[in-house]
């Protein structure tokens, strides 16, 4: 069986939405294809009738400031995000995450939209976006809506997008002002799959020697990418110190149960790495936020 029968390359968002609506099903969108092609080839997804390629749509291939926000088109390749000065200025965690994903050949085609839409609990780009307070821009033939990123995910591999109707057009990220900074880090297992044992992203605002706001996300820490509100709350209105970090860790481990993944990590190792990553990353962001 051929993996697909028909391959469409719409030139505009409207055209994409129309063909998505009208093409014989099953129909799927393809961006870089670095997840989708493997899912098809390895039989995790049944063959489809139509693939709708999003990479030729210029509206989805931008990185620009829109008002008080940074907009990143969903079809923008990771290599462009990783090297964009705008992203580095406003969303350093995302720069770092995109720079760590796979190798250059994959990054040249893989997109941020694909990384998010694939909806894995520990996708690196997604975890960074989660900490950065990102809103997803969702579009269908009836119009657009915005959704805080966390609300997009329903479970592993499952999103709130209506398959065959809605698309991720892009992402809105708040601009970085003085005193704000972010960072991303991860630990891999040398043997085995390219998903991190644990990754972690932090965004914070530093005011008058204290942490005035903080977002923390880490994966895998449950069925969907998530933040840690209790841990964030505990760190707020405090200056960064090692002792404080340890108290925050206790709260974090209380707030989330890091599970074991066969052949990747035990739950104890994940907890241990959470401590290491939290402390290191927090220190980095704190220094950056000066």
């Amino acid at each position: 069986m051929n993996l697909w029968q028909q391959y469409l390359r719409p030139r505009s968002l409207t055209e994409a939405l129309q063909v998505l609506h009208s093409a014989p099903s099953p129909v799927r969108v393809i961006a870089g294809g670095t997840d989708l092609m493997l899912d098809l080839k390895q039989g995790r997804l049944p063959p489809v009738h139509t693939l709708v390629d999003l990479t030729g749509i210029s509206e989805m291939n931008v990185i620009e400031i829109r008002g008080k926000e940074l907009f990143i088109g969903a079809a923008t390749p990771l290599s462009q995000i990783a090297t964009s000065p705008l992203v580095e200025e406003h969303a350093r965690a995302l720069t770092e995450a995109c720079g760590l994903i796979a190798g250059p050949q994959v990054r040249n085609v893989a997109t941020l939209g694909g990384n998010v839409a694939h909806a894995l609990p520990a996708a690196d780009g997604t975890i960074a976006l989660t900490a950065l307070g990102t809103q997803a821009l969702i579009v269908d033939l009836n119009g657009r809506r915005r959704l805080p990123l966390a609300e997009l995910f329903l479970g592993p591999g499952e999103t709130a997008l209506k398959v065959g109707q809605e698309l991720l057009e892009g992402f809105y990220l708040p601009l970085c002002s003085t005193g704000q900074a972010s960072a991303f880090n991860r630990v891999m297992r040398v043997q085995g799959i390219a998903l991190p044992i644990l990754n972690l992203a932090i965004w914070l605002e530093r005011k008058n020697g204290n942490i005035s706001q903080i977002h923390i996300s880490a994966g895998p820490s449950g069925p969907t990418p998530r933040r840690f509100p209790k841990t964030e709350e505990a760190l707020c209105r405090q200056p960064f110190t090692s002792e404080f970090c340890e108290r925050a860790l206790v709260i974090m481990l209380d707030e989330v149960h890091f599970r074991a993944s066969p052949h990747r990590a035990s739950s104890e190792y994940r907890q241990h790495l959470a401590a290491v990553l939290l402390q290191d990353t927090l220190k980095t962001v704190w220094q950056r936020a000066r």
Partner: protein, 932 residues
Amino acid sequence: MAQKISLNVNDKHYELACLPGETLAELLRNRLNLTGTKIGCGEAECGSCTVVIDGQAVMSCVYPAERADGKRVTTIEGLIGPDGALHPLQDAFIKHGAVQCGFCIPGQIMTAYALLEHNPDPSQAEIRSALKDTLCRCAGYPSIENAIREAASSLRTGEPIKGASVPDSESVSQVIGRTTIRPDAKSKVTGSAIYTDDLKFEKMLYAAVRRAEVPHAILREVDFDAALSVPGVVAVLTAKDVPGDKNHGLVIFDWPTMIGIGERIRYVGDALAIIAAETQEAALEAATRIEVRFDELPVVNDPVQARQPDAPILHENGNLLKHIKVRKGDMEQGFREAEVILEHTFHTPQMDHAFLEPECSIAVPLADGRMEIYVGSQIPYSDRSQVATALGWPEERVHVVGQLMGGGFGGKEDIAGQIHAALLANATGKPVKLLYNRRESLIAHPKRHATQIRVKIGAKRDGRMMAVETELYGDTGAYASLGEKVMTRATTHSAGPYEVEHVRADCYAMYTNNPPAGAFRGFGVLQSAFAVESMMDMLAVELSLDPVDLRRMNALHVGSITNTGQKLWESVGLLDCINRVDAEMRKYCSTPFSARRVNGEGGRVRAWGFAAAYKNTGLGGGAPDKSGAEVQLYPDGSLEVRTSAAELGQGLVTVLRMIVAEEFNLPPERVRVLVMDTDLTPDGGPTTASRQTYVTGNAARLAAQSLRQAVTSFLTEKHDVAPERIRFIEGLVQVDGQLDNLGEVASEMQAAGILPRALYEYSAPRTMPLGEGGDMHFAFSFAAQAAEVEVNTDTGEVRVLRVISANDVGRAINPLGLRGQVEGGIMMGLGNTITEHFIVENGRVITDRLARYRIPSIMHMPEITPIIVEHPTRDGPYGAKGVGEVVCIPTPAAISNAIFNAVGIRIDSLPIDQEQIARELSSRLPQTGERI
């Protein structure tokens, strides 16, 4: 909506119809015949398929062909200039010896090409991060990196490429001992080198295999009606369609070509049915439509369980393939006289060769009733006999036409698809190609033996070793393959390269329901060296001795008697290896074995570790070790050397060419090498056991000498001069001071009815079977290695920073080729230690994708310092003995000893588990959570 793809490839415009489901790699390879773009995995892991699209490197195996519409694609074939000039990257890859088997090379060059387009002066870190996902299993990463640097500089400055500067052998002659470029290097960097999957034949069918996918069962029913109805399917065969013998094998014929009804399935890769169809898709689709029914049985998971009395019995003669014994001296006395006794048990898992070229065979039925088999195989003559036996034919009816091999490492000695392709070709009367996908390769072919090794060692307080007792369990999996031989090597080498008076070793090579295990570079010795060399360091700690001193004190030397009772009367360079590595290591650090903290972020600790090794050259153990070679002189003045010995990337063809050139005193470029063809080349025996340089090297040398004699006596007669007055100089022959052209002499000889050709069948010195004392092997290579590691004490992650490796190879025939073998061997040893974990659970292979079985990338590359030690062996060609294997053997222990020295954690099972390190480090702390 595009119904056509219009694209530019290598400055040529194409308009092509869209084919549903086609990838760009398929379009390039199948429709444009640009087969320089290779498919190593088809899963975006290896980078072999890298091409450049609009200036960006991408993996074409997961790139939909339709997306290339309107784009500019550059493939390896597009790099060569219009005048045929090589691109500086191509030239540099050749001259740096970065090309071995060559399969990954187009991908490496294209990735580098894209890098240099954007960054003309990349740093070392930039090169590495660009090549992060472009894997090379021959692993000449240092040479690849150097080649890219020099190409970059040449592109900036216009300077010509100079190439690597590798020191010559200590004693050079005309050709031997000097850096020589591989004859096939140019075709490999330009993409014109043809591997089996690049071949196409008219009306060729594509095959697929329906595998058991259960580890242990009795097959009850195979229903292939639905498969036959898939459009394009031409034939489906099952066990009852095998006309000849049902089983195949290398030593023991215990491996069914297909499992019959009522017969036993012994592992997930067992073949139940084979299909031939007009397209690959149809064949694969049909394989999934075959309905099978079986009764599953309890699984034998490991060799220890296999030996339990209540274990299910897998083969007629039980689960024990072989009990191997080594006996020397008196163990009771040895341990009584010892002042310290240590005992410990080690484990190593199965490992996969992960050669980047998956197995591929094409069987072509000929009009005269013969069958050609196109395959990259390490033992062409054995393929011929096994295929013939399965067809029920005399051997001569089968002609194996050996192809370039994209790596072998021992994994292409057994039958893969040869017999299946031949059966289908025989049944359909058409050529049939059987190409494994990566998953099939990982599941089906024989692995490195998983082992459990208990070592008990007794020594005096001063370090003198008194007794070594080992007990090994080897998991030979479902079928024997070379299991007995591999585990014999593991056993005889299990006391290390040391002189010990009292030795006892017992090995149980057991059948299980895991994938079969067979030959793999190191041939069992990698496993036992990990155990005994770890033990040596444990002993050094116990006795508070320097681990290098301990090894020096006990090292084998000329005059020593090995544990199989062999007296070593020459060519034992072990002490030299140890001393030279030690000296080099101490240049970096005067207390190499103490932990050093790294300043800066996080907890990072470094230390060195040391290990030594030895490895036999040749089959040994009483097996006749023969090889034939034929050398012929042509009227154009060129020579050809022919032998069926296999070129897997290791550089044998270069060595053979050099040897013949040396004997005729002419430039190596004048010698062609033809290998691996059962009609045209004499039997060179198996390419295994590091034997080919020695055995076939000698055959080629002696054949060349006898041809030279024939030429000499022809000229003696013709000119009526004494033979001493005839000399071979620079490709000419000098008779009494008068120069003559060799080609003309060839023509004259032919005219006189003498064919200027000589065949020599060389037999290596006789060896004795294990247990009978005397020379079990005719030569040994020796090695010492030091590795520096850095352990992240927060996360448990380990990096290898430096490796110093000395290898006693007898004589360095081609220093450039040798360097590639050394770099690649170290990287393979490193992979086996750090990145590779072949996981089988209850007989099922978990690591069935390259994404799950990680081989080292350029990111894992340490700084490598190779040291060549040359203690020539009398009967080796110019003194040479093998090197391919010994170089990777000390690596696992050197690394794990370094980890112990850094953080005090003894790794006794491979691969190194960062989680274990982190756990043990944090459990040492008074309270959890605190950082060290």
